[in-house]
């Protein structure tokens, strides 16, 4: 709210802020107030949530050269003034019954594991990085605009088909708030607290007839920002606006939502979720990393940077378990609510088989099997992964193929047929001796199923050519053309 204009030391001439900017500020502040009210209303039940499930099949993943499309001009979007306030729905969203919340929490974990299984299937020496929560949130937003078999397919993919659409929306929005709330704690050392931001946004083709109920529901359940852009005439400009948003909500970590083909002039709606996490370890690792051997699935041994916790001559206390099939440790971040769970298969088991066997129940058993252990040292690689995933294929395989084809998005608009053009996610995860920085942006583009099929007309056979007066019908010339080359 407050602007630092150095007015104590060097008075700056006052220039009134424009009413439109103050209106924007008012709306943003109002959204903060409503969010705070809902969090207060639901209390702060503790939840156990694996905030980031990390699979590093090999360390040392390389950061790709960062795109440099950050330009300096004004943002290419405008606020859609027609956004509606839905106070009634907001309060309803805040009083969700707990069985619904539990079902959605369970579904999120299950979804994350099934998705990971899809992405790791086949094994091989490649890393997989995915932000399941971001993807699930974007799909839950999409589901609000779907109907019939499409709605059911998305719900089935997310694992929430037993709940009504309204219950699902309430469940996801509550989980969203709880996860954000989990980053805040009661530690006096606030500067060490994790920073976890989630943001949702909806972009609409300017002038496109979106159902108001869709916009209302997104605002009520997901506090979704709303923008209009011109995909039809300026898809590149729209992409710049989307990318700006992504960068802004991930502290510059993610600078692109869609790659080539993700949005085009047929795109009418884009749904996006951004997540940004910066968390310090509750107990830091030694700042000195050292190279040590890491064993690839192929049997090859490489030299990778490792970080370790082994105070000279001392011991390390950790919640861990060392079994015959896997070794695991839970590494809490400062604040105590978020942690990283590291699991390494042992006894000849491969990581993709371990992942294939994971379910919410088995993951819960692994967590339950952790116990306070005194270790001589704790060592794991530091790593830096970046992924750019096109998720159409795995999501189709998981049950929502219909959304990409003959979809029913009558919740978004009843005027034209729409389908999902692309689901993409860019993610970035850095694990260092200090902590973890992770960012991800998921984008779902929804577009016209096709331009209307216009018949083409080619006269390439003998034809009759008649010049006539349209009013009287009088025929002025007649030609029967058998061979257009002959005279």
């Amino acid at each position: 709210m407050r602007r630092d204009r150095g007015r104590r030391t060097a008075p700056v001439p006052y220039e009134p802020t424009s009413p439109s900017e103050l209106l924007d500020r008012t709306r943003r502040r109002s959204a903060e107030m409503r969010r705070a009210r809902r969090v207060r209303a639901t209390g702060s039940l503790a939840i156990v949530l694996a905030a980031a499930l990390v699979v590093a099949l090999l360390p040392g993943g390389r950061r790709l050269p960062s795109p440099t499309e950050r330009s300096g001009g004004p943002l290419g979007y405008e606020h859609l003034a027609g956004a509606k306030e839905l106070t009634g729905d907001v309060s309803r969203a805040g009083s969700a019954p707990s069985p619904v919340e539990a079902a959605v929490q369970q579904a999120e974990v299950s979804f994350s594991l099934r998705l990971l299984d899809r992405l790791t299937a086949g094994g091989g020496a490649h890393n997989v990085l995915i932000a399941p929560f971001s993807l699930a949130t974007a799909l839950a937003m999409l589901e609000l605009g779907s109907a019939g078999t499409t709605e059911h397919a998305i719900a089935r993919t997310l694992g929430t088909a037993d709940l009504s659409p309204a219950e699902q929306a309430v469940g996801w929005s509550t989980l969203d708030r709880r996860v954000v709330g989990s980053a805040a704690g009661s530690s006096a050392r606030a500067s060490r607290m994790p920073k976890l931001d989630l943001a949702d946004a909806l972009w609409i083709q300017s002038g496109f007839p979106v159902e108001p109920s869709f916009v209302d529901a997104l605002a009520a359940y997901f506090d979704s920002g709303l923008w209009t852009v011109d995909f039809a005439h300026d898809p590149r400009g729209a992409a710049v606006a989307l990318n700006r948003w992504a960068s802004r909500h991930t502290d510059g970590q993610i600078r692109r939502i869609f790659g080539p083909g993700g949005i085009d002039e047929l795109t009418r709606v884009v749904l996006a979720n951004g997540v940004y996490l910066r968390a310090l370890w509750s107990n830091r690792f030694s700042p000195h990393e050292s190279l040590a051997p890491f064993h690839l699935p192929s049997g090859k041994v490489i030299s990778a940077p490792f970080m370790s916790r082994n105070p000279s001559g001392g011991v390390v206390d950790a919640r861990a378990s060392i079994g015959s099939r896997y070794r695991a440790v839970d590494l809490p971040y400062a604040g105590g609510r978020l942690s990283a769970l590291v699991i390494e298969p042992t006894g000849g088991e491969t990581l993709d088989r371990l992942v294939a066997g994971l379910s919410p129940a088995s993951l819960a058993r692994i967590v339950a099997g952790l116990h306070e252990m005194r270790l001589s040292s704790l060592t794991l690689p530091s790593f830096d992964l970046q992924s750019r995933l096109r998720l159409d294929t795995p999501l189709s395989a998981m049950g929502m193929r219909v959304a990409f084809e003959a979809a029913d998005f009558s919740g978004i608009t009843r005027r034209v047929a729409l389908h999902v053009q692309a689901v993409q996610q860019d993610a970035d995860l850095r694990v260092s001796p200090d902590g973890t920085v992770g960012a991800a942006v998921t984008g779902v583009s929804v577009g016209l199923s096709s331009l209307p099929m216009l018949p083409s007309l080619t006269f390439d056979h003998p034809f009759l050519f008649v010049v006539r007066d349209a009013t009287t019908g009088a025929v002025l010339f007649e030609a029967a053309v058998e061979d257009p080359l002959a005279r």
């Binding site: 204009r5 007015r7 103050l22 500020r25 709306r27 003034a81 306030e85």
Partner: protein, 162 residues
């Protein structure tokens, strides 16, 4: 009560809320913050606030309360006003805010609405849900208490145009 209604309300009330903020704090930037805070409270509760017949007064009451809160809680933010003897005026504003804070709630609200927000006594009565006579009583008693606290400077301050 639609978003469109709110925008109309916003356009009408923004200048008045800023004026209240500026009158209380003496700081044009802070006055904008005060106005945004008050209008955001209205926006967040628009389904309830929108239909109120005295919603204008409701907003001004919230704005004056926000402004006084700023002045009491963060005296440094109230400086510097853009004219007059700065240090004297800052002291006077802080003293006024402190004196207002010591008044009973109804007297404080009546004085804020009548003198800081320029509402008529009838509008103040509607906003507070009391009779015009009761408003007169609150104003009379409140002003008397302020005079005792602040002496003669009060009259000039309340009549002050920004």
């Amino acid at each position: 009560m639609s978003e469109e209604d709110f925008e109309t309300f916003f356009a009408r009330m923004l200048p008045r809320a800023v004026r209240v903020g500026r009158r209380v704090t003496g700081d044009p930037w802070l006055a904008e913050d005060v106005a945004v805070e008050a209008l955001a409270k209205a926006h967040a509760r628009w389904a309830r606030v929108g239909p109120l017949p005295w919603r204008d007064a409701w907003l001004l009451k919230v704005a004056s309360r926000e402004a006084l809160r700023h002045l009491r809680g963060k005296p440094g933010l109230a400086a510097p006003p853009d004219r007059g003897n700065e240090s004297d005026e800052v002291v006077l504003r802080a003293a006024l805010a402190a004196a207002l804070a010591r008044l009973p709630r109804r007297q404080r609200e009546a004085i804020s609405l009548r003198y800081l927000c320029d509402l008529s006594e009838a509008d103040v009565a509607a906003a507070l849900g009391v009779s015009a006579g009761t408003v007169k009583t609150h104003l009379h008693r409140g002003l008397a208490a302020l005079r005792r606290s602040l002496g003669g400077e009060l009259e000039g301050e309340l009549a002050h145009e920004t």
